[in-house]
């Protein structure tokens, strides 16, 4: 799966995007966030405060952490938007 990052989350994780192989056990968005937390200190710090991190799956906002990841090609992580 392709993971992309924006704003201060991109800066904290020091990456714009990456291609990852998810473990078989990662089936939902909640699983994906839990898995992210295991990837070192920076990841743990960013994903600790679940509610601050917004997620889009294939360009659509997803709030529900039980959303299945099957068929998803791209997950994006970002703080609340400040456009306009």
């Amino acid at each position: 799966m392709k993971l992309v990052y924006f704003s201060w989350i991109r800066e904290r994780l020091d990456r714009t995007e990456e291609e990852v192989e998810l473990p078989e056990t990662v089936a939902t968005l909640g699983d994906l966030i839990a898995w992210q937390k295991t990837r070192g200190e920076a990841f743990e710090a960013v994903f600790e405060h679940d509610r601050v991190v917004r997620v889009a799956l294939d360009h659509a906002h997803v709030d529900d952490r039980s959303e299945p990841l099957e068929g998803v090609r791209e997950a994006a992580f970002f703080p609340p938007m400040t456009g306009g």
């Binding site: 992309v4 704003s7 889009a56 360009h59 938007m81 400040t82 456009g83 306009g84």
Partner: protein, 166 residues
């Protein structure tokens, strides 16, 4: 009298969504939206500018999510068109480095009637503020490291009024 088959009110609304680095020309965008039709009685534009009341800002850097930004604004625009009798709707959002006094965003809503034009433009802006994937970072005039602009709770509050209305 022209035949009633020539009913201009049945022209479909023009909808134009753009994400771009360049500035926009409000007058040209209004003309683009209203030209060639006489069913538009009201045009409301909203332009958002880079503000700097304290004189401490050098520029804003606007980051966006290229794949998603246009799709998300288009989704919101489609909802506005379904909700109000609009004859046209334009949304242009810039990205990149923007200095104080410069344009950031433009929304135009055209309709036969003024309330629909006001509501369509206001609705689009409220959703754009909270749903369009853009983030602003400050560059400070004194060269020190700037902050990412924090989201405002009042922007979420502004959204809620659209749920209460018919």
């Amino acid at each position: 009298m022209k035949p009633s088959g020539h009913d201009l009110s049945k022209l479909s609304p023009k909808c134009d969504i753009r994400i771009q680095r360049e500035d926009f020309d409000i007058a040209a965008e209004i003309t683009r939206l209203t030209r060639g039709r006489t069913d538009t009685g009201a045009v409301v534009t909203f332009s958002g500018l880079c503000r700097d009341e304290a004189g401490a800002l050098s520029a804003l850097e606007l980051e966006h999510y290229p794949g998603m930004a246009e799709a998300e604004i288009r989704r919101i625009a489609d909802e506005a068109i379904a909700r109000w009798p609009l004859t046209g709707l334009t949304a242009i959002h810039r990205f990149g480095r923007i200095r104080p006094g410069e344009n950031i965003v433009l929304v135009i809503a055209a309709s036969a009637h003024r309330q629909a034009a006001f509501d369509g433009a206001s609705f689009l802006m409220d959703f754009l503020k909270t749903h369009a994937p853009f983030w602003k970072k400050e560059h400070r005039a004194d060269g020190s490291e700037g902050q990412w602009v924090a989201a405002k709770e009042e922007d979420d509050d502004a959204l809620k009024r659209w749920e209460e209305r018919p």
